[in-house]
Amino acid sequence: MGSYILKRLVSALPVLLGITVIVFLIMSLIPGDPATAILGSYATPDNVEKLNRDLGLDKPMVTRYFIWLGNMLTGDFGRSFSLNRPVIDEVLERFHATLILAGTSFVLCAVLGILAGTVSAARQYGAADKAITFVVLIGISIPSFFLGMMMILLFAVDLRWLPVSGMYAIYGGGDLPDLIWHLIMPATALAAVATGVVARLSRAAMLEVLRQDYIRTARAKGVPERRVIMGHALRAAMVSIIPVLGLQAGFVLSGAVYIEIVFQWPGIGRMLVDAILKRDLLLVQGGVVFVAACYVLFNIAVDVAQSLLDPRIKT
């Protein structure tokens, strides 16, 4: 197993490198001159030239790429001009908040989605199946940012059950219950679409598996039906559900951008949008590379989980 993980990590290196190349290329699409963008249009040519030299922008592109890459490898992602602090500090702080939100949503969507799909398949065409199918249809059709806004209206403004926004209460709070209190709405809104997708897929996978001969064998052995569904069938269905969970993690991470805006969550998505609007490109660049790299590593974890589940995969 250890050698398999190592092999996967090594094979991820070119992908990680590719990510930096793509981000670098996209950033070089910027029309005009970054120094002018930072200094504003009233800057003197002298100042622009000086800043260009300070930022290393007078060097050829390939050289600039390797300088940037080398700096990143030593943990130096540059300095955000709009926040006047190292990019990596800001990114780590914000990513921490995103991880709490997106991680919770991911767990929610995996657990609820698989559960709903399994029940739906086991009770195919029954009342529970129809109800779940209907809710799932609504769930995958409603944009997460709109769902979030409607939840705020209902649960925070009308019913006053939950806080409107933020990660912690402004006065007092700051402890775990306070965090969970603030997390309920954004995490649910963020999980909605992914839960629907996972539920649909789990239902289809379960229906496929339940028709297999080994399910008949389990029943012929006298295995109780609950165990046939939750043990034999679900275990086999997980083989096709897990890769989709990996994909959904990407969608949850993406959806977090909207949810962070709607709920004023101090995560990396909101940081990126702010940075784009302020044209703080080093911050955008650093944030994108960092999150993409984490996502690649997460997908390796998904592959490892898959190989643990399915002994037929050669490790």
């Binding site: 409603i142 709109f146 028709r211 039906e225 993406s254 955008v284 399915d310």
Partner: protein, 621 residues
């Protein structure tokens, strides 16, 4: 096409989706000619009017602009932008895919590596990076969304083109001296076009949502121009004080996405032929029972099948797989059921503990009695306790009948554990003993194997060991040796025979091979089209078959050392059991058939133990 539309509209939800989408499209097309107010005319005195106030059907927004007008123009813009980015992504992605797939080799490798790298991003990061570089704006958002979706098309189209590029007609075009461009345009593109269209239709809703999302973040359309996303984004500032302004564009996005989803599902279902046959429904834990007629009285046999009828209901068609079968076994006895594929022998066997897949299977008559208790009328729990404990099965093809993800030791242990409370270490010992019983070498290490780590013969032995786990009274073996080579088959038969003698269990052995029957079975029942056509002691039937079908079946078995004998195949095919003619089902293939064979039911008669269902039997029994 009309059939496709019919299928699509038979799905009520897809119909709703089509209607909603049609309405929205009609509104959007009519927007320029509708008597709407100017969407940009601000009136700060009339801010946040509610619905139906002052001639504003949907009220006004934070600048006093007419919401209805803005909604329709915004919808138009959102749909156009979504469509445009879908087209752009499809065009660029498909071009890349076609080039990679057609040229293959290093071109393919290089392109697909790049595509993989782009796909390694969570999609919004890439879109944000592009918008960051190009600056906020609707066109830039469009470019970003299109770019993010390019890899999806590239990958899908490449997969298809790779197979196309290897096909004969492409080779032919190449030999005819056509250039690459011409081959791609005339031979490849027309073939992938339908796939591109389908891929586009599945992503278009998604792209509308994504562009709306970027606008919502303030990175797409810039004021005063507004698509649905930026309308929602602007309205958010007044969400708590004036929620209605947010609800209007939000509901519109929801309706668009939902109708596209419904339509997409409908299209997919209409295109998936498996759904039409109803094959996608999962089997229930027990076969459905809908018995008509009286339930036969109990006998003193160990296991008795009495006038069993099992049918498959597929749509309006009814397949009578088993049409009145009587069988019985006593302890220590081996009964063979023999017949061609489709004769109903496996369905008979599965009906015994109600394992026939249901839907579509239904048991419509008769009884199955184990120690006099009727299993067809039993509850699930009663049946479960008999399954595997008293009556066990050995199935054909052990690769698909053993669970691929559990160690065989665990599968054996489970068979015991669901019926008896046994401590864990004891279970493992029992599993090893069972493996030894079926003559598996190195049982101590084999017990931790997964099914895919064993050979076919070994897996079949595991299947047998599993059936023996609780020392059942009856074993039903459904072609357990069909997938095996002859030497392994002989070993397995000898093994079953030994076990029968050692443990006194009764075996119902299903096969299409008279050679196997001769080796193992005391008595045999020959099945044809869901009914027994002849039954009696094995040796008697082998020596002097009475039914013409049985005689022909026996003649099909080649015998070693008896060269020069002519092997006679039976011409024709067994009849389809959804439309059986009256009288003898074998008559169309029988050379002794006369008109009377097709007039009414032929009874199964004879002096016990033999009986035959024929008006002109080969032998009188």
């Amino acid at each position: 096409m009309t059939r496709f539309l019919k299928l699509l509209f038979r799905n009520r939800l897809a119909g709703i989706g089509a209607v909603v989408m049609g309405l929205i499209l009609a509104l959007v097309i009519l927007t320029p000619v509708l008597p709407l107010q100017d969407p940009y005319a601000t009136d700060l005195g009339a801010r946040f009017k509610g619905a139906l106030q002052d001639g504003h059907i949907l009220g006004t927004d934070h600048l006093g602009r007419d919401q209805l007008s803005r909604l329709l123009w915004g919808t138009q813009l959102s749909l156009l932008v979504g469509l445009a980015s879908a087209f752009a992504a499809a065009l660029i992605g498909s071009t890349i895919g076609v080039i990679a797939g057609y040229f293959g080799g290093r071109t393919d490798n290089l392109i697909m590596r790049a595509v993989d790298m782009v796909m390694a991003f969570p999609y919004i990061l890439l879109a944000l990076a592009i918008v960051a570089a190009l600056g906020p704006g609707l066109l830039n958002a469009l470019i970003a969304v299109a770019a993010v979706n390019v890899p999806f098309f590239a990958r899908n189209i490449r997969g298809i083109v790779v197979t196309l590029a290897g096909r004969e007609f492409v080779d032919a075009a190449r030999l005819a001296g056509m250039g690459h461009t011409r081959i791609i345009l005339t031979e490849i593109v027309p073939n992938v076009l339908p796939v591109i269209v389908i891929a586009m239709s599945t992503t278009i809703g998604w792209m509308i949502l994504e562009t709306a999302g970027l606008s919502f973040l303030g990175l797409g359309s810039q004021p005063p121009q507004a698509d649905l996303g930026s309308m929602l984004g602007e309205a958010r500032a007044a969400l708590i004080t004036h929620p209605f302004t947010s609800v209007v564009p939000g509901v519109m996005i929801f309706l668009i996405v939902m109708s596209i989803n419904l339509l997409g599902d409908g299209v997919r279902d209409a295109l998936d032929p498996r759904l039409k046959s109803g094959a996608l429904s999962r089997p229930l834990p027990v076969t459905t029972v809908g018995r008509e007629g009286p339930i036969p009285a109990a006998t003193d046999d160990l296991l008795a099948v009495q006038d069993l009828h099992t049918q498959f209901h597929a749509g309006s068609r009814i397949f009578r797989a088993v049409g009145g079968v009587d069988l019985a076994v006593r302890p220590g006895e081996c009964l063979g059921i023999i017949g061609e594929s489709g004769s109903g022998k496996s369905v008979t066997a599965l009906s015994i503990t109600r394992l026939v897949a249901s839907p579509p299977g239904v048991i419509t008559g008769g009884a199955v009695r184990f120690r006099e208790a009727d299993m067809i009328g039993a509850s699930y729990e009663e049946l479960r306790q008999i399954r595997g404990d008293k009556v066990a099965y050995i199935f054909q093809d052990p690769l698909s009948t053993l669970h691929p993800l559990y160690r065989i030791g665990d599968q054996l242990a489970e068979a015991i554990r669901v019926h008896h409370k046994v401590p864990k270490d004891e279970l493992r010992k029992r599993a090893i003993t069972l493996l030894k019983d079926v003559r598996i070498p190195n049982a101590e290490s084999r017990v931790d194997n997964y099914p895919h780590e064993m050979s076919g013969g070994m897996r079949q032995r595991v299947g047998i060991a599993m059936a023996l786990a609780n020392e059942p009274d009856v074993i039903i073996a459904d072609e357990p040796t069909t997938a095996l080579d002859v030497t392994v088959q002989a070993q397995i038969l000898a093994l079953l025979n030994d076990l029968r003698r050692e443990k006194g269990l009764a075996i119902v052995f299903i096969t299409h091979d008279f050679g196997v029957v001769a080796q193992l079975c005391d008595r045999v029942a020959v099945m044809y089209a869901g009914r027994i056509v002849e039954t009696g002691p094995t040796q008697a039937i082998l020596d002097a078959p009475a039914h013409p079908y049985a005689k022909r079946l026996i003649a099909c078995v080649p015998e070693l050392g008896h060269g020069r004998r002519e092997l006679a195949a039976i011409p024709g095919l067994p009849p389809a059991v959804d439309d059986l003619p009256p009288g003898c089902a074998f008559a169309p293939r029988c050379d002794k058939a006369s008109a009377s064979c097709c007039e009414g039911d032929v009874p199964l008669i004879g002096t016990p133990p033999r009986a035959v269902r024929c008006l002109y039997p080969e032998e009188n029994v």
